[in-house]
């Protein structure tokens, strides 16, 4: 009996310190990066998908369920990018704090106007991303909005540190605003140019920086390139003098290389996620890298 009383303070302290630091789970590394910017050392951030993994397909591990079970906050895209793997994980974790609609659930797409929303939501239009293109975090202005959303949610869940979260958001916003000038200037010479991408992950990036990333090696999202489609792409690239093909780490680079060799274009390795390319451990460094790589390829 005595032992139990001795243990009691330990238990109380443990649960108290768990209260003091928010346990944040992010489905994808970009959301994890925002959470770290805003939460600093007041939160624990666990990211489920690796930055080099295809965000459509993520292999679940036992620690995912454990993290979700213990989470105070879950940040997900909310636009069906994680549709293939997140729902069964959540069903298993059964954590009421992070259900949709609860303060502990941050859906990044909330309040953001998604691009390329299919006109009619039938199977023919594609059931996977019925809400619109879910690769929106690579637009820095959208990134600011997500960071603000995260700061507000963290503040509501952890009021004693609200000022800290708000200050971090201000810092992030200032950095992005300054960087936007720099990035815009670097890509300005290529305004209106066409760029080819393996998968349709870049409409937001293209929109922000005045590019047209609207030709894809995949004939349809998720369908491997077919010979006739590639022939068509090669003809288009030659006609429009397209100089760059964007691929991501989980795409088949050889297909891009093949198209590049017959058109004289360069293959540019891109990533939507901080950590997906060397030296990109946070969001700003990621966009820095994307902008400089693309500018170098288009020169």
């Amino acid at each position: 009996m005595k032992k139990i009383f001795l243990l009691l303070p330990v238990i109380v302290t443990c649960s108290f310190s768990a209260q003091a630091k928010l346990n944040v789970v992010a489905t994808l590394p970009d959301f994890g990066s925002f959470a770290r910017e805003i939460g600093g050392d007041k939160v624990n951030v666990a990211v489920l998908a690796k930055p080099t993994e295809d965000p459509h397909f993520v292999d679940a591990r036992p620690s995912f369920v454990v993290s979700l079970r213990n989470a105070d906050v879950l940040i997900d895209g909310g636009a069906e990018l994680e549709l293939g793997w997140l729902p069964p994980l959540l069903q298993n974790a059964r954590n009421p704090k992070i259900e949709v609609g609860k303060p502990g659930r941050i859906q990044a797409s909330q309040g953001i106007r998604l691009m390329n929303v299919p006109a009619n939501v039938t199977r023919a239009a594609g059931d996977v991303h019925a809400l619109g293109n879910p690769h929106f975090t690579v637009d820095p202005i959208i990134a600011k909005a997500i960071a603000q959303h995260i700061a507000q949610s963290f503040s509501a869940l952890d009021p004693p540190n609200a000022a800290f979260y708000q200050a971090n958001y201000q810092k992030f916003e200032t950095t992005i605003n300054a960087k936007l000038q720099e990035w815009g200037a670097a890509l300005l010479p290529f305004h209106g140019q066409h760029v080819v991408a393996y998968h349709d992950s870049w409409p937001y990036f293209a929109h922000r920086f005045g590019l047209n990333i609207d030709i894809f090696l995949e004939p349809k999202p998720g369908i491997p390139p077919s010979p006739s489609h590639l022939t068509e792409v090669i003809a288009q690239m030659k006609a429009q003098h397209i100089k760059a093909i964007i691929v991501e780490p989980f795409h088949d680079r050889r297909i891009a290389e093949k198209v590049a060799s017959s058109t004289g274009a360069k293959v540019v390795e891109f990533s939507q996620f901080p950590g997906g390319l060397p030296g990109t451990d946070n969001y700003v460094k990621l966009i820095d890298t994307l902008v400089s790589r693309l500018a170098a390829a288009l020169k």
Binding site: A60, R61, P88, N92, R123, A124, G222, I223
Partner: protein, 280 residues
């Protein structure tokens, strides 16, 4: 740990016994890749449903997938001739690649939906739901009873085909029944566990049993024990080292098989040397 691993562990206790039993048949018949071919047939059926824009969870979709599985069963029972130049495994391999390629062709005409197809073949044992476990358990019990009732004929057809013909058994018909039921079991298990795991559960315990025992009943008992051991040990390792659960179980099975083969080899050597030297 229990709240995360309870249902996967229960699934690995309640479900594999039937697969181990069917695995003995499959290994005996020498048609190792039949499970993958069957699963791919069912996946092709789902692709057709996707093409016609049917809901994936609907009964129509299930019926189409089942119909494709039955077509597979028919192909394998017709081609499994008593004497043939072409090994059955060749037909199975061809069915697999053609079904897989046909699925790619169909999906290139369908709007997305490829994610569901991939999910069909890469189910994740870690995330099984209670409902999935109980539904499959009920199905497996029904199939188990069916196999138990007709065990003489099924065993004869698999283990002594010449004897089955001599007895005047309609071997093709029993083959068809075997493959049809087998397809149903494999397809339902693939959905929760993935192709790799189904394959391991069918083959590894059966091979271990064959390595260590002569009588079918002993082989089955050893197979069941190995199936339980590999499944539970694999899940625990996957928890402790945070590994993808299905792959962890498969590799545990691989390690168990190596250990058992070494043991069987050593036993064989000893028996051999005793036989050569004669009793002292």
């Amino acid at each position: 740990m229990w709240e995360v691993m309870f249902w996967p562990i229960l699934a690995c206790i309640l479900l594999p016994w039937l697969l181990v039993y069917l695995g003995l048949h499959v290994v005996q018949r020498g048609i190792i890749f039949i499970d993958i071919a069957m699963a791919q047939m069912a996946a092709l059926g789902i692709c057709v449903a996707v093409l016609f824009r049917l809901e994936l969870e609907s009964w129509t979709t299930f019926a189409i997938a089942l119909a494709f599985t039955l077509v597979g069963a028919a192909i394998f029972s017709v081609t499994g001739k008593r004497t043939s130049q072409i090994p059955q495994e060749a037909v199975i391999g061809i069915s697999y690649v053609v079904a897989a390629a046909a699925a790619v062709l169909l999906l290139s005409r369908a709007a997305e939906g490829d994610e569901e197809i991939k999910n069909m073949l890469v189910g994740n044992i870690l995330l099984v739901t209670p409902r999935e476990v109980w539904e499959r358990f009920a199905l497996f019990v029904a199939v188990g009873i069916f196999h138990f009732l007709f065990r003489r004929n099924f065993l004869l057809v698999s283990f002594d085909r010449d004897g089955a013909y001599q007895k005047g058994l309609r071997v093709r018909w029993w083959d068809f029944l075997f493959y049809a039921v087998f397809g149903l079991v494999v397809t339902s298990f693939v959905r929760i566990a993935g192709v790799l795991l189904v394959f391991s559960y069918l083959i590894v315990p059966a091979v271990c049993g064959i390595n260590l025992a002569q009588r079918t009943s002993n082989r089955l008992l050893i197979g069941w024990f190995i199936g339980l051991l590999g499944g539970i040990a694999g899940l625990l390792l996957s928890y402790w080292w945070d590994l993808p659960s299905g792959a962890a179980i498969v590799c545990t099975f691989g390690a168990l098989l190596i250990l058992i083969s070494l043991y069987a080899l050593w036993q064989g050597r000893r028996a051999h040397s005793v036989a050569v030297q004669g009793p002292q």
